[in-house]
Structures are given as C-alpha cells and as structure tokens.
C-alpha cells in the first residue's frame, strides 16, 4: 500500500493548525506541523513533505523568507495562507516560488481543491496530444482550438497565452509571470496588453463572456484557468 502523502503545516496559530490537521487527515493526508519559520524549515528537510502549507504571517521569520529558504533545495508544492488586502504579499510569494495561495478566512473545500491542482502539477507531465477542459478542446499537435464543438481561430499571441494557461491549468498566474512568458522580460509592467488579450480570449473561448467560467480573474494578483467538469 502506498503511504498517504505528507503535508507540512507551518502556522503559528494552534487553532488553524488543528482544523487543518483534522480536515486534511479526514481527506486522507498525513500531516506534520511547525509553529515557527525555523521549525518549518527544519521539518521540511526532515519529513520530506509532498506539500507545504505556509502561513505568510509568522512571528519569527517572514513567511516569504521561509519560502525562499525551502525553495533553495526543495520543489515540494507550496500553498501560502495570506489575508485580505495583502495582494502584494501574495504576488511576492508566487514570484518566489509558491504554487498557489488561499486568503484567510477560507473554507476547507477551497483548500483541498488547491491541493488537488498542486498535486496534478507535481506529477511528471503527461505528453498528451490533446487538452480537454469543460467545453474547451485543444489539439496541441495541430494547434486546433474548439470551444463547445466550434472551431475557433486564435492569433499567435492568443494561442501562446492559451498554451501557458494549459501548462498551468488550475493554478494562479501573476500578471508579471504571464507578461514575462508571453511578451518578454521587458514587458512585465505592460498590464494593458494582458487585459486586452484576456478580454479577447474570453470572447472567443468562454460560453458566456460576460460570466467567465474558464479564465478567472484573481483580483489584484493575476488570472487562473479553472478546471471545469467534462461537458
């Protein structure tokens, strides 16, 4: 039998650690806990977790610092816990190698969904020739895009953008990450490009562009391609 994956929880609040432990164990994970940043770094080395849940507001070390130090040698997916109005902190964490974030207060359902996505991305990439997500089908070999069984023509940039979202399906991408990938390092401040192309992509690929289900805006942070049910 495969042992359940271990999740390291780094948070100074005992109540938060407790409800995380109870909910994660009920969902079939094993948990290890750390109450400080230093302890978290040590635990990350000792227990070799499959995932890390890291609170950014730790008393001893800045959560961002903890993340950077763990990232020096570990690629374990890290989910950061942040608070409302701390968009810059979330962006900094994502740019420093966090895989995703949830905003306190959050529901367990939200957290588990993020973990499932992180889990998917932690697996070695399957070289599938086709990508399916809800009403979207992309033939990656022939660069053909279908939405709701209709063939859709995309510009080269739109297709590149779509590919980026496909590679990171379910994960949040910061504005800077997208701009750097698609338009290059000199364009990381040019957010207007991004918003125009996102509007175009939504118009072409969403079932109802005025209620996007596929390309979600992460307010003040970036965008995320939602994982939809098969239609």
């Amino acid at each position: 039998m495969i042992p359940p994956p271990t999740i390291l929880i780094i948070d100074d609040e005992i109540q938060i650690r407790r409800f995380l432990r109870v909910s994660l164990e009920a969902a079939g994970y094993r948990t290890v806990e750390a109450a400080t940043g230093e302890e978290g770094i040590t635990q990350a080395a000792m227990s070799r977790p499959a995932f890390i849940i890291l609170d950014l507001g730790l008393p001893d070390l800045n959560g961002l610092e903890v993340l950077k130090r763990i990232r020096e040698w570990s690629r374990a997916p890290a989910l950061v816990l942040s608070v409302q109005d701390a968009e810059q902190e979330k962006i900094a964490a994502l740019d420093a190698g966090a895989d995703d974030y949830v905003t306190k207060p959050f529901s367990v359902g939200e957290l588990l969904a993020r973990l499932r996505v992180a889990n998917r991305h932690a697996q070695p990439a399957q070289d599938a020739p086709e990508f399916r997500n809800g009403h979207l089908r992309v033939d990656l070999v022939h660069r053909l895009v279908q939405a709701n069984e209709q063939s859709i023509k995309l510009t080269a940039t739109e297709y590149d953008l779509l590919l980026l979202f496909i590679r990171h399906a379910g994960k949040v991408l910061t504005h800077r990450q997208i701009l750097r990938e698609i338009w290059g390092p000199h364009a990381v401040e040019e957010t207007q490009y991004l918003h125009i192309y996102m509007a175009q992509l939504r118009k072409k690929l969403e079932l109802n562009p005025s209620q996007p289900q596929l390309f979600l805006t992460e307010s003040g942070v970036g965008y995320r391609m939602a994982l939809l049910e098969e239609s």
């Binding site: 995309l154 510009t155 080269a156 207007q192 005025s210 209620q211 307010s219 003040g220």
Partner: protein, 351 residues
C-alpha cells in the same frame, strides 16, 4: 508695539504675536511683561512700577481677567501726554473686548467639535459592539450547543447550527473588511495600485464574489462589446462596487432586479447600478455617504460604513459617486471614473 497673547488660559510666552514691531530685549525686560500679566496692572517706562524698563507694558483686561499684554515704546523720552494716555486706554479696552469675543468663539467651536467627535465615538462603539456581538452570540450559542452534544442525534438540527456558525463568521469577516477599508481611507495613506483594467471584468469578479449575498435578486448585466480600458485600482474598485451592491441587496425585496450598466463617454466611464427598492427619503440623499449614517427606519445590522467606503474609494480615483432616486422607483448609483487615452497594443491577425 508688541503683543503677547494668552492662549487657553495659559500665560503668554515670550514669543510676541507676529504683528509686533519689537521683541523683549532681555529676560529682565520680559519679566516686566510677565509681572503686568500676573498683576493686571501697567508697569515699565513712564509708570511707577519698574520704570527702568525699555518699554511700557499694559494688560489687556476683559471680564476681570488678563488676556494678554501690550508693550509700547514711545519716541519721545517724556512718555505719553494725558490725551494720548486716554486714547491708549480706549484702544486697550476695544482690543481686549474684540479678543475676548474671538477667544469665546474659538472655545465654543472647540467644544462643539469635541461633542461631535464624542458623539461619533459613541455611535462607533455602540454599533461596532452590536455588530460584533450579534454574530459572536450566534457562534457561541450554536457551537456550545454542539459541544454539549444534546443535538448529536439530530443530524438536521446539527446542520442548521453549523450553517449558522458559518454565516455568522462571514458576517464578522465583512465587518472586519469594512473597518479595515475605513481605516485605510481615514489614515490618509491610501495608495492606489493603478493598472489598465477591463471594467466588465471588474463587474464579473464582484458579481461572482457576491453570489451568495445576491442569490435572492435577479441580476441584469449586459456588457458593451467595445469598452475602453480604464486605469484603476482593481481591488479598491471591487470593494466600492461590492458595497453598493450589498447595500442594494439589503434594502430591496427578494426577487427584485438589480441592473448594472457600463457607459463610456469621451472623458469618462460610468458604472450605473439601479435597484427596485423603495429609494431614499429625500432628506437622506445628501447624507448617505456620511460614515455611520443609517436610514432612520433601517433594519438592524450594518455599521453604515459601506457607502461611505465606496464614496471614498471612488474619489481616491479622481472619480465621483452620486445617488439618486429613479423616476419609476428604486435607487440609482452612478460611479464616474476619468478615462485617459488607453495605450495601443500591436495588431494581429487570427490564423
């Protein structure tokens, strides 16, 4: 001449009023002025008290209290004539009366401001403690009932209690958000994170965040096809719109429609939010953006901060937020944001 004025009942200090022609040349000279203030009698040159001072000093007396001191240097060595002396006394009286009036007015204003701030403080404490206690009471009551375990057998009852705890926590969360937003506005340290944003996207985000709160309302929103990008702080505008929509949800009957529109003109972009509620009493229209203002007949719940936050965030963008009653019925909120020429993106052909 030189003037030394008492302030708030404290004796004057040796820095003369800015209208003065000279300042005391030494501590000794200044002590003459102090003596005059304390004893409410003239002293210095040309008087019988401390006549070796450089100037003559006269108290400014009103209602038997010294309001300050005037120092006088005369050109002639002989001092003042009787006639000049009489004239001087009249001037001193007039100045003292004017000063007293001014001081009384300032005191009255101060105490009014104090009373107003005390009133605000009280309102704040009352409503915050009410807004905090209500969900806390729910959480304490419902969770203690679960702990005591007498509901263990009744699955349905347990579900009701757990759902109540969850919604009470969300209510607390909304309260904290509003208090934080208000603090940000009041601190004067609000920093806008301006980016070119898609206005229709803003509305999508707000609507999907408020799905639960707006579940009982019909929402109508038809975005225009070609909207210019607008430079704004997405997160703050999201909070502004959310507060207007939450306000609409609170004051309109279930099943009624809330309609949203975006209209673009050459210089500005307008968000229009219309509801089918009772609208505002005319006397309330001018006050709804004041913080802690609540309609006289408002249902319990809410701090009266939401609309004031929305107003503050829109104004921080150099925009305007106005409310009016619709001719038909219901209220209309209009946010206008200034439009700047949007930057160009390269043209591309779809293949």
């Amino acid at each position: 001449m030189s003037f030394y004025l008492a302030s708030n009942g404290n004796p004057p200090n040796e820095v003369p009023h800015s209208a003065s022609a000279f300042a005391p040349s030494s501590t000794k000279e200044w002590s003459v002025a102090t003596w005059v203030y304390q004893n409410r009698k003239p002293a210095g040159r040309g008087t019988s008290t401390l006549p070796f001072a450089e100037a003559a000093y006269f108290p400014l007396l009103a209602s038997n209290r010294a309001l300050g001191v005037i120092g006088l240097v005369t050109e002639s060595a002989r001092g003042l004539t009787l006639e000049q002396e009489g004239l001087l006394q009249t001037f001193l009286r007039q100045i003292a009366i004017a000063l007293e009036r001014e001081m009384l007015r300032a005191t009255a204003e101060q105490s009014h401001a104090l009373a107003e701030s005390e009133r605000l403080h009280k309102t704040l404490l009352n409503s915050i403690s009410h807004e905090l206690r209500t969900p806390l009471a729910t959480i304490t009551g419902a969770s203690s009932s679960l702990i005591e375990g007498n509901t263990a057998e009744q699955r349905e009852l347990r579900n009701v209690l757990v759902t109540d705890i969850y919604s009470a926590a969300q209510r607390l969360n909304r309260l904290v958000k509003n208090l934080l937003d208000m603090t940000r506005l009041e601190s004067g340290l609000l920093k806008l994170n301006l980016e070119w944003c898609d206005a229709a996207d803003l509305i999508h985000v707000v609507l999907s965040n408020l799905k639960e709160e707006l579940a009982q309302r019909k929402i109508r929103f038809e975005p225009l096809n070609e909207l210019p990008l607008v430079r704004m702080d997405f997160v703050l505008m999201e909070r502004a719109l959310a507060n207007i929509l939450l306000n609409a949800a609170q004051h309109t009957p279930a099943g009624s429609t809330i309609a949203l529109r975006i209209a673009a003109a050459a210089q500005e972009l307008a968000f229009v939010i219309e509801d089918e509620g009772p609208g505002f009493p005319s006397e309330a229209l001018s006050r709804i953006f004041e913080k802690f203002y609540r309609l006289p007949n408002a249902r319990a719940g809410g701090l009266g901060l939401g609309l004031s936050i929305a107003h503050g965030f829109v104004e921080a963008h150099g925009g305007t937020l106005v409310a009016e009653n619709r001719l038909e019925r219901g209220a209309r909120f209009i946010i206008k944001l200034p439009l700047a020429p949007a930057p160009q993106t390269p043209e591309e052909v779809a293949t």
